[in-house]
């Protein structure tokens, strides 16, 4: 009866001297997986033109219906999105838009610090989505 109790004490004492797993979050950041589904990015051609052709597949497949696109045509009939907006307050980060895109025009970055002070901050328009995302944190500690 006494021995298991002592074993328990031994175990907890061993924990006292272990390296702590706490990550001091705002000072240190979690390193997330390579395929982490964070904030979306609209990609561009090497020439600088947006890849998206406003085919509406992403807006159609989106289960949260958070993507809003208005297409337009250039003089040479190439389609491009006049407006491309994602409402992050509705987005469930399922990644279907990335899967379905035939042009690899939308990707998900590893950016996970996407909180904002108002709902407007989380309603991303085309310019915001074209911004390169915050780079991936390279840290020793792995998430999860």
């Amino acid at each position: 009866m006494i021995i298991p109790l002592l074993q328990g004490l031994k175990l907890t004492l061993a924990h006292v001297f272990k390296k702590k797993i706490t990550l001091q979050y705002p000072d240190e950041k979690w390193d997330v997986a390579k395929r982490w589904r964070g904030r979306h990015v609209l990609t561009v051609h090497p020439s600088g033109k947006i890849r998206c052709v406003a085919c509406m597949l992403c807006a159609t497949v989106c289960p949260a219906e958070c993507i809003y696109i208005e297409g337009a045509s250039e003089p040479d009939n190439r389609r491009y999105p006049e407006r491309y907006e994602i409402d992050l307050t509705r987005c469930i980060f399922c990644g279907y838009c990335v899967e379905v895109c035939p042009k690899e025009a939308i990707e998900m970055s590893t950016a996970y610090e996407i909180s904002g002070y108002s709902r407007k901050d989380l309603y991303l328009d085309k310019e915001a989505l074209l911004q390169p995302p915050q780079p991936r944190y390279e840290k020793k500690k792995k998430a999860g």
């Binding site: 004490l9 175990l11 924990h15 006292v16 702590k20 797993i21 706490t22 001091q24």
Partner: protein
């Protein structure tokens, strides 16, 4: 003026000890949170000040600034009185704990010091020290049960009933576990008990190992710490008898609780581990080191064991602790009597 001096000196001494105790009690909360954190492979508080050292101050300030609530239907006088009883009963027993051999005041202040007994490292050198301790700490039950009753809440009342039942049951086991030491020491005076343990082999823990074990168990039940903290069993009773208390009144209950913990560690040190006795270092350092070691042990125990079920705690108290304690007293008395008869002086 000459006659008022000793009284002022005594008051200063008492105040110094109380301030020291309150500081230790405040830092006990930090020690507890740190050690519990380490046991759970966490870091523990480290944001307020370096290494979290200002955390107790921040907690205290927060408690003082919180809104004072008196529940409707509470018996106001008793409601306010209860936390005071708890705190007083937790701090007063420190008066008889010898924390050092002598304070070395004679060279500083002349012969009046020894005349008025200021030099001893204890506030009140009572010849019934242990009786005094048990007497006062039994009074602590009143604070608990009055607080629970005056809150006019079923959770508080249930918590205080549990607390009172548990404290009264384990008071018995605690007293029995100490009697072994008293028989060997032949005195109730804590100063003399410490002076008897002047080498490490004379520490009563080696002559009374069973008594020490019983003391540890009954003690942690008496101060209601895990695994015996069923008076504040969250999933059954919200928070126990202090459920309806807020602000500093709540803080006083916790102050009492941690002061009890500190006192139990001090008493364990005094009774079983030679108090301030020890080589090389000054007595007060030895006393504090031993005391804080036992504080660590109690936190360690809290971080290890889950809470027991209420009926099992009571059954263990009455059906195991009391009989074993009685056996320990009988066996100690029997063997000591034979020893005195044939080998003793």
């Amino acid at each position: 003026m000459e006659s008022a001096m000793p009284i002022i000196m005594v008051v200063v001494k008492v105040l110094l000890v109380i301030v020291a105790i309150l500081t230790f009690v405040a830092y006990l909360t930090l020690i507890e949170r740190k050690v519990l954190g380490w046991i759970q492979v966490r870091i523990g508080p480290n944001r307020v000040g370096p290494w979290g050292l200002l955390q107790p101050l921040a907690d205290g300030a927060k408690l003082l600034l919180k809104e004072e609530i008196t529940v409707a239907g509470a018996n106001k006088a008793v409601y306010i009185l209860a936390p005071l009883i708890v705190v007083v009963c937790a701090i007063v027993p420190f008066a008889v704990i010898p924390f050092a051999k002598g304070l070395g005041l004679e060279t500083l202040l002349g012969p009046t010091v020894s005349q008025y007994d200021l030099n001893t490292g204890v506030i009140a050198d009572l010849n019934v020290g242990i009786l005094f301790i048990f007497g006062i700490s039994s009074l602590g039950v009143y604070g608990v049960i009055l607080g629970g009753w005056a809150s006019n809440s079923k959770y508080s009342l249930l918590g205080s009933i549990r607390a009172a039942a548990q404290m009264i049951s384990y008071e018995l086991g605690l007293s029995l576990s100490v009697i072994g030491v008293l028989l060997l020491a032949g005195t109730l005076n804590l100063v003399q008990i410490v002076e008897n343990q002047d080498s490490i082999w004379k520490w009563y823990v080696f002559r009374q190992p069973l008594g020490f074990l019983l003391f540890l168990i009954a003690g942690s039940a008496e101060i209601a710490r895990t695994p015996f903290d069923l008076m504040e069993c969250e999933n059954e009773l919200v928070a126990g008898y202090q459920t309806e208390y807020s602000s500093m009144k709540f803080g006083l209950f916790y102050l009492g609780e941690y002061a009890h913990l500190l006192f139990l560690s001090a008493l364990t040190t005094t009774l079983f581990f030679g108090g301030w006795q020890g080589p090389f270092l000054p007595p007060i350092i030895w006393f504090l080191a031993k005391m804080f070691f036992f504080v660590f042990v109690f936190v360690w125990i809290r971080g290890t064991y889950p809470r027991l079920r209420y009926d099992r705690v009571m059954a263990f108290g009455w059906k195991t602790l009391v009989p074993v304690g009685l056996f320990n007293v009988m066996a100690t008395a029997f063997i000591y009597a034979i020893y005195l008869q044939y080998w003793g002086a």
